[in-house]
């Protein structure tokens, strides 16, 4: 990891930050969520690959790094699938109090 690589990575992160903030104010409907999450994933990958040196790490370390995120995806996908497909009526929050 050279100083030049770090500088370029930092510049890319700043550009992505400006881009995601600007795009958040553009009305794209549901797409706004996916655009902002997509840019977040790109920023995270830059940090993971360059700053956290996964580019120079062994496959074993990379697999360990990927495992946490992989299991997280399973957790989010399955819980979201549950909540999206529930058919019982939600009690309005303010009537429960």
């Amino acid at each position: 990891m050279s100083a030049g690589t770090i500088l370029r990575c930092w510049l890319a992160l700043m550009v992505l930050l400006a881009l995601t903030t600007a795009l958040a104010f553009v009305p794209l409907g549901t797409a706004n969520l996916f655009v902002s999450l997509g840019i977040a994933a790109a920023k995270a990958l830059l940090v993971l690959i360059v700053f956290m040196e996964l580019k120079a790490s062994s496959s074993l370390v990379r697999a360990a790094a990927a495992a946490g995120f992989f299991w997280l995806m399973i957790m989010i996908a399955l819980t979201s699938a549950d909540y999206t497909h529930r058919t019982d009526q939600r009690v309005p929050l303010d009537t429960v109090r």
Partner: protein, 211 residues
């Protein structure tokens, strides 16, 4: 924490380096799931409460949040510079980069604290002074998530600042020698806290700005 010495259970420095890196990533994987549970809860709230939940996100301070993201990303670049210059064998340069990292971390905490004080003034803090009649129950759930997520993140950052400051003093006074893994491992922790914020930022600050 090991510095330059080869611990007895390892045959070579390369093996030791690989093992401690793998160990750190195993710890970070548990942290991914720790913060991930909060983020999974966020998505379920968002599915469950829809527009009302997203509307509450508009009450967060997007200028302060964006500034803080820039501060934290810059601190990560400083941390990477510290690791690189340390591995190149320098003593003074990593110390200075580490101090810059710690100062930027403190700047993040200061901005966050200012943000919390604004939110307290707007009666947005659940369990302390949340104004239910004014903001509604779904907003209370959003701000419960907000304070849990950003509070736990800030706690991680404070631990990081303490570690980085300690490391700067140890490298500066020559108590950690070249070839050790401590700097790299603390760097991994710091960058990880940055990655958590990279995902919290759009979910908290950018949601509901498109209306």
């Amino acid at each position: 924490m090991a510095d330059e010495a080869l611990s007895f259970q390892f045959a070579t420095p390369v093996q030791q380096r690989e093992a401690v890196t793998l160990g750190m990533w195993a710890f970070l994987a548990t942290e991914v799931l720790f913060f991930g549970a909060l983020i999974a809860a966020y998505f379920n709230y968002r599915i469950w409460f829809g527009a009302e939940f997203v509307a509450a996100a508009q009450m967060t301070k997007v200028v302060l949040g964006t500034t803080n993201t820039a501060v934290l990303l810059t601190s990560s670049a400083c941390m990477a510079m510290a690791v690189t210059s340390f591995e190149a064998g320098s003593r003074r340069r990593p110390t200075l980069w580490l101090l810059a990292t710690a100062v930027l971390g403190l700047a993040f905490i200061a901005i966050k604290g200012f943000e919390y004080s604004l939110e307290y003034g707007e009666h947005l803090v659940p369990a302390l002074n949340f104004d239910l009649a004014r903001h509604g129950g779904v907003a209370e759930i959003f701000f419960m998530f907000y304070f849990c997520a950003t509070g736990l993140h800030a706690l991680h950052l404070l631990i990081g600042i303490a570690l980085v400051t300690w490391l700067a003093i140890w490298i500066g006074t020559g108590r950690i020698n070249r070839g050790g893994s401590t700097t790299r491992l603390i760097g991994l922790y710091w960058h990880f806290v940055d990655v958590v914020w990279i995902f919290l930022f759009p979910l908290i600050y950018l949601a509901g700005r498109n209306g």
